[in-house]
């Protein structure tokens, strides 16, 4: 690697102190360490270090998102073909999906990246890899029809207000990608929700499964309503339904989950907690359902798991280590509460058929409080031990 190393050294002189590009040193640094490992040596004990670094961790999350990205692109195209009753082919579906999705991903990365670089330059720190994940997560939870300027505005809000004003990566209270989505969701509801935004064909409307289930008559079966609207469990589980780009396929999310658990990047406690909480709460509603209850009461737990962005949220959003709970017990509580809240918002709050985003953001705020009580328990143990002598 001698050649590349020498070339980078030459480039570095342009960014040296006193040179016109000195302020942009973080950009050079990011490129340099992207191409070549930093090669710094330890100065203090321990003198050997693990091969892992934050780049590797963040890249691995992006790798885990690959099934969702591929499936999202394909499904976007597939929905277009279904809506326009065009002849179906894998390749064209993929191509059409790519046309819609790629610009969203690129704009998300470009706009968010701009803010990342700006803050790194002003604060004189290195550019954080965390944005590689935020940028793609955000793109995957948007409807394919969203105007690109809204993509840019949303991610700007998420990065600046959701993360940087708290001090940057590692300091944020809320998940930046979800903060960005929440912003566009409330600022531009017409482009973010409803029946017209999830299939990228002008003038075409089709209610999402959750909207269908929410709109069903009181006392009727939600599953029957879904079947009537042409949604089968298989389609929902595999992800061949209208929805936000990357979150429709529960299967793709589960493949990503397997990767995250094998590599131990995500907390299994949080994911398990989410699924447990959701199953428990939806079972309660399921057993309560009767003639006078909302139709969503009758939706069995496995449908709840497959519907909406639950799997995506539980696996990729709730597990963000910075904004989630940092204690083992806390992770369980945090996860279970998200699961409970998702069902609660879906079933009893007719204003928001989808509750995943709000449930996670809500628990993000509570995570420090949960940790506080877990930590107090540890402190109390120590006081009891001292007093027992």
């Amino acid at each position: 690697m001698g050649f590349l190393e020498n070339q980078m050294k030459k480039v570095e002189t342009l960014f040296a102190k006193g040179k016109p590009l000195a302020k942009l040193y973080p950009v050079y640094e990011a490129l340099d360490t992207f191409l070549l490992t930093p090669g710094t040596k330890t100065q203090r004990a321990p003198y050997i270090r693990d091969a892992i670094d934050l780049k590797r961790v963040m890249i691995s999350v992006v790798v885990a998102l690959f099934p969702c990205i591929v499936m999202g692109i394909y499904n976007t195209g597939y929905q277009i073909q279904m809506a326009s009753a065009a002849e179906h082919s894998w390749a064209t579906a993929f191509g059409q999906g790519l046309q819609k999705v790629l610009p969203i991903i690129l704009v998300s990365y470009a706009a968010g990246g701009f803010w990342e670089v700006l803050f790194a330059v002003v604060r004189k720190h290195e550019i954080n890899e965390g944005f590689l994940v935020t940028g793609i997560l955000y793109a995957l939870v948007l409807p394919p029809t969203i105007p690109l300027w809204q993509v840019a505005v949303g991610i700007s809000f998420g990065v600046v207000i959701g993360k940087e004003i708290f001090g940057g990566t590692g300091m944020n209270v809320l998940n930046p990608a979800l903060t960005a989505r929440a912003f566009v969701f409330f600022a531009y509801p017409a482009q973010m929700s409803g029946d017209a935004v999830f299939v990228a064909v002008d003038g075409f409307t089709r209610a999402t499964p959750l909207a269908v289930a929410a709109a069903a008559q009181r006392g009727t079966s939600a599953v029957a309503a879904l079947h009537q609207a042409g949604y089968t469990f298989q389609d929902i589980f595999l992800g061949f339904i209208p929805g936000s780009i990357g979150e429709t396929s529960t299967l793709a999310c589960l493949i990503g989950l397997a990767f995250l658990l094998i590599t131990r990047v995500a907390s299994w406690r949080i994911v398990a907690g989410c699924f447990l909480g959701l199953t428990a709460m939806s079972s309660v509603f399921y057993f309560l359902h009767g003639a006078g209850t909302l139709a969503l009461f009758s939706l069995p737990p496995h449908w709840h798991i497959a519907l909406g962005g639950f799997a995506f949220g539980a696996i990729f959003m709730a597990t963000d280590p910075v904004s989630s709970s940092a204690t083992d017990l806390g992770c369980w509580i945090y996860g279970v509460m998200i699961g409970l809240l998702v069902v609660l918002i879906r079933v009893v709050n007719p204003a928001y058929p989808e509750g995943v985003m709000l449930a996670i953001l809500f628990m993000n705020i509570f995570a420090p409080l949960i940790d506080h009580f877990v930590v107090r328990r540890n402190i109390r143990r120590r006081i009891t031990r001292a007093a027992a002598k």
Partner: protein, 449 residues
């Protein structure tokens, strides 16, 4: 009596273990005593350049408690008193004369059962051997005016490539037993002997008059903090003393023979010490170079102690006072093309983000490369599985960074030492020096008191 099997922690298997064979090395031409080894002491030299010293003669003295002195491990002439910035004392170097003449001290033959606690303290101070006793919290040299609630004999080590106490203590049973008798007099509480579950040496297994505890499990099962935490944990206001098992022998011989023993068995380890891997019988303060036959290959990092808890003393450095190990590892710093993308068949990681994580674990060649840039802590869940104490590492670190002393104490910082978190620093993807942060917190608290 207790048997503790710990699950948290991790052993790092690196190349370069010492052969279990004690090799007598010639007396080095120079020895060096470094004041930075003695936490809690403010040392000033009591010798001048050119002064003649014997083994056991004082070289340095504590300014605050003048009775505490550091002895010369060799006879000869004071060759240099090295000072650094702001005249901070770096080292006192003695040119050896090869005679190893002994300073004569009071001799107490037989079992010293008639001695009082005051007698023992007086003889240890007088024999310039007091600094072998350290205290927790703060890991500093013990204060003779304190009364510890218990004393721990540190008779195991789980650091990477650490010396095996069985080898060092083999055949020393009578002296070790006398040493235990003497130390028992220093406390009204218990004397705890903490050994490895696999200890075989009779010196350890047949020791009597002590509470014996055996610890099994991965590193840091052998750390002093781990032993204290599980056997007799300390709270605010408690003081516990501890001493290395090898130093118990020196205590015994000071009483029995009236001599200040300065020899030390040092395990020579690490990939860079190829050809010299053994247990070297040398003296305290020996130059690292002398353990490697006078020649250190280029591009090596010379550590006194282990890769996890040691200190970079450089090629010209001396073995630290409390260390019984040197580790020589290759320097890192090679830059790799698109390293974040490589499958990593040869990478060593606790995580499972490399192909190597799924291969059979074998002895690794690890260098001093940091493998990444400094970042804010993101993965905060990895620390607790590496610390076998009831300590919430991430929250303790946050309390220290916020300089919230009260919270740090409530979270148990007084039970810890930076070395207990070496594995956390090792495994942190953000390359956070957890151990240094804890040490800084302890220093801050110690200064306030």
């Amino acid at each position: 009596m207790g048997t503790f099997t710990l699950r948290k922690g991790r052993n790092i298997r690196i190349k370069g273990a010492a052969r279990k064979e004690i090799v007598q090395l010639p007396l080095p031409k120079q020895i060096g005593i470094q004041p930075s080894d003695f936490k809690g002491l403010k040392l000033r030299p009591v010798v001048k350049i050119g002064d003649r010293v014997k083994v056991g003669s004082p070289l340095l003295e504590d300014k605050i408690r003048p009775g505490i002195r550091i002895a010369s491990p060799a006879s000869g002439t004071v060759a240099a008193i090295n000072r650094g910035e702001k005249r901070a004392l770096l080292s006192v170097v003695v040119e050896t004369d090869g005679k190893q003449e002994q300073e004569a001290f009071e001799k107490i033959p037989g079992l010293p059962s008639h001695l009082s606690r005051e007698d023992v303290i007086r003889i240890l101070l007088h024999g310039n051997l007091w600094p072998v006793i350290r205290q927790r919290p703060f890991s500093k040299v013990a204060d003779p005016h304190d009364t510890p609630k218990s004393i721990f004999i540190h008779a195991m080590n789980t650091e990477p490539l650490a010396p095996d106490l069985d080898v060092i203590l083999e055949g020393q049973q009578p002296a070790f037993q006398v040493g235990l008798h003497i130390l028992k007099k220093l406390t009204d509480g218990e004397l705890h002997l903490c050994t490895s579950g696999e200890a075989k040496s009779k010196t350890l297994t047949q020791a009597s008059g002590v509470q014996k505890h055996s610890f099994s499990g991965p590193h840091p099962a052998g750390n002093v903090s781990t032993h204290i935490h599980w056997v007799d944990p300390i709270s605010k206001g408690d003081i516990v003393w501890y001493i290395e098992a090898a130093d118990v022998l020196r205590v015994a011989r000071l009483f029995l023979e009236g001599v200040h023993v300065s020899n030390r068995i040092v395990a020579v380890t690490g990939e860079g010490a190829q050809g010299h891997h053994c247990y070297a019988n040398t003296v305290i303060g020996a130059p690292v170079r002398s353990l490697l036959g006078g020649h250190i290959p280029s591009g090596m990092r010379c550590l006194s102690g282990s890769v996890l808890a040691g200190k970079d003393v450089s090629e010209e450095g001396f073995v630290r006072f409390y260390d019984a190990q040197v580790t020589i590892i290759p320097e890192g710093g090679k830059r790799e093309f698109l390293g974040w993308l490589s499958p990593g068949i040869n990478k060593y990681s606790f995580s499972r983000l490399f192909v190597s994580s799924f291969l059979r674990e074998s002895e690794r060649s690890l260098d001093s490369d940091k493998h990444g840039s400094d970042r804010a802590i993101v993965l905060n869940g990895i620390y607790d599985s590496l610390v076998p104490l009831d300590i919430m590492t991430y929250f303790l670190v946050r309390a220290v960074l916020a300089k919230d002393i009260e919270e740090a104490e409530a979270l148990g910082i007084l039970e810890c030492d930076g070395e207990d978190f070496a594995l956390c620093s090792f495994a942190c993807p953000s390359k956070t020096d957890i151990g240094s942060i804890i040490d800084d917190g302890l220093a801050l608290i110690d200064k306030d008191e």
